[in-house]
């Protein structure tokens, strides 16, 4: 039985925040005691060895996982992240320590019955350690051996009716904010489209066919609770087209102090009495609101739909009824050519089953990027390299002032030959007839 001294990690058991060290130690104890007589399929001391190798990394300030790792299940090109310890003799329990990505339900609602079944499987064939959830959204089963992968996959699909998530140069597991399930700001059913597109594009998710990874995320409104504009190549953010609904009685209740601003989000400090002029009207980014002492009005055609007034007075102001979403393309982390957030491609699209309009944009983008994208080039980089105009051409979307924050300041403007009278074929001799050398 591997027992390792972990003086550095032990310090992380103090303090008020839930300690991952205490939790792993608890799991290590539970595995050792094995109260349910589980026939563990990977080393019983995997948790101790994980703490041991982590302590070693704390001591020397270096990771102790080998480079890369290619493992998986038949039929799929991704879903499992292979990992091997670089000190397997000292820590045999984590010699293999592969991660299994499991596709999570949209917005992560669970029943205990489901989670118990999943954990029974993971107790039996894995380390008992998880990440709930990976930042892309998957349930992450943390640490098992190669021979267990097909076994886990069999039970997941046959008994839990659950599939793996994505990894590699493919469509990664989509994720959504909780949307209409419990938010009055949601402009469309984020969970449904996330589920729908996940099912629609299973092939693209399981078998890497892209130049590089591609992610979808679905935010119900511009608040961005799943951060789609920063964390997904294709970000779909809910909005509305008509007027913000104003309940003037409720506005008065806010002004009178009956309702708390921002639903009480700032109640931890005394910010004084609610001042609708200062906290709402004067903070509106377009200055399209006015308050005459008894009535709040909004010049909706000047409204950006930034959500500030609705966020501040959720009981008085409501999203419009003509709802849909905007599509933003190209967000990515810094590697290789710098971080990007999504750029507005489709200002407004209806979000209704079967989502054909959205799928058409997506598939046009894929057709283009799969053909033109270089090896390991995110779509955001392809847009930079080939130009935003190229993306408009391939998606058949007409250029619109909303596509830019500001027009270009340099004059290096390309023209299409057919748009210029006379074209590009010119004879120098004709020119010389009018202009001597």
């Amino acid at each position: 039985m591997a027992e390792h001294k972990t003086p550095l990690l032990d310090q992380l058991e103090s303090g008020p925040w839930p300690s991952f060290v205490s939790d792993i130690k608890q799991e290590a104890e539970r595995r050792k005691a094995n109260p349910d007589n589980v026939e563990y399929q990977i080393p019983v001391d995997v948790c101790e060895d994980l703490l041991g190798i982590l302590e070693m990394s704390y001591e020397d300030g270096e990771t102790h996982w080998k480079h890369g790792g290619i493992v998986g299940v038949f039929g799929y090109g991704g879903g499992v992240i292979g990992r091997y310890a670089d000190q397997p003799e000292q820590f045999p329990g984590v010699a293999h320590f592969h991660t299994v990505r499991v596709n999570q339900p949209s917005a992560k609602y669970y029943t205990t019955d489901y989670l118990r079944k999943l954990i029974d499987l993971w107790d039996f064939r894995g380390s008992g350690l998880t990440n709930m959830h990976g930042s892309t959204g998957d349930m992450v089963l943390l640490g098992t051996t190669t021979p267990q992968l097909e076994e886990i996959f069999w039970t997941l699909t046959h008994d839990l009716n659950t599939d793996l998530g994505g990894s590699g140069s493919n469509l990664r597991t989509p994720a959504a904010c909780l949307g209409q399930s419990r938010c009055e700001f949601a402009c469309y059913d984020t969970q449904d489209i996330s589920y729908h597109l996940t099912q629609e594009y299973q092939d693209e998710l399981h078998r890497p066919a892209f130049p590089y990874k591609f992610k979808f995320k679905f935010d119900g409104c511009p608040n961005g609770c799943v951060a789609s504009i920063a964390r997904s190549d294709c970000s779909i953010i809910g909005t509305w087209k008509d007027d913000i609904k104003i309940d003037q009685e409720a506005v008065k209740a806010y002004v009178a102090g009956e309702f708390r601003p921002n639903a009480g989000a700032h109640s931890g400090r005394d910010w004084g009495k609610f001042d609708i002029q200062k906290e709402v009207v004067d903070l509106c980014p377009t200055g399209c609101m006015s308050w005459d002492g008894s009535k709040l009005s909004i010049d909706n055609k000047e409204c950006y739909r930034c959500m500030h007034c609705i966020n501040t007075m959720p009981r008085a102001l409501h999203i419009g009824d003509e709802r849909g979403a905007s599509m933003f393309i190209g967000a990515k982390a810094p590697i290789l050519d710098g971080a990007q957030m999504g750029s507005l491609l489709v200002p407004f699209v209806k979000v209704e089953e079967p989502y054909d309009e959205i799928k058409e944009v997506i598939e046009n983008l894929w057709d283009w990027w799969m053909e033109e994208g270089k090896n390991r080039e995110r779509i955001g980089e392809t847009i930079k390299r080939q130009g935003f105009q190229k993306m408009l051409d391939v998606t058949g979307i007409k250029a619109d002032p909303r596509h830019v924050q500001e027009p270009r300041s340099n004059p290096y403007i390309f023209w299409k030959e057919e748009d210029v009278e006379g074209g590009w074929d010119r004879d120098i001799n004709e020119f010389r007839k009018r202009h001597q050398r």
Partner: protein, 105 residues
């Protein structure tokens, strides 16, 4: 690093079963690997994929993108998975003796 013995030939491999050196590849390697990659009989189609991967690697020093593999062999990705159940990276590249795929997999 481990060494495996097959039909009198020894191969140095890593934990994932990839050849450590491309130069060590020989037809026996394919025979040795195929079962663990879920392949019963090697067909001309398998061979076409393996040959192309090796040619491309010798010429360019990297494995081809999936799209190029499909285009040159004429096999859709779906068919490549029918031939190599664990896919072009783990399955075909391993059998062809190419280095292990890297990056954010």
């Amino acid at each position: 690093m481990a060494t495996v013995e097959f039909q009198g030939i020894s191969f140095d491999i890593d934990e994932d079963g990839f050849l450590q050196r491309f130069e060590d590849w020989c037809p026996e390697w394919v025979e040795y690997v195929k079962e663990s990659e879920g392949i019963k009989d090697l067909t001309d189609e398998h061979q076409k994929v393996l040959d192309f991967l090796q040619d491309y690697y010798k010429k360019n020093g990297i494995a081809p993108m999936v799209r190029i593999l499909s285009k040159v062999t004429g096999f859709k990705l779906k068919h490549i998975y029918e031939l190599f159940p664990s896919g072009p990276g783990k399955g075909a590249c391993k059998m062809a003796g190419l280095p292990k795929p890297t990056g954010c997999v």
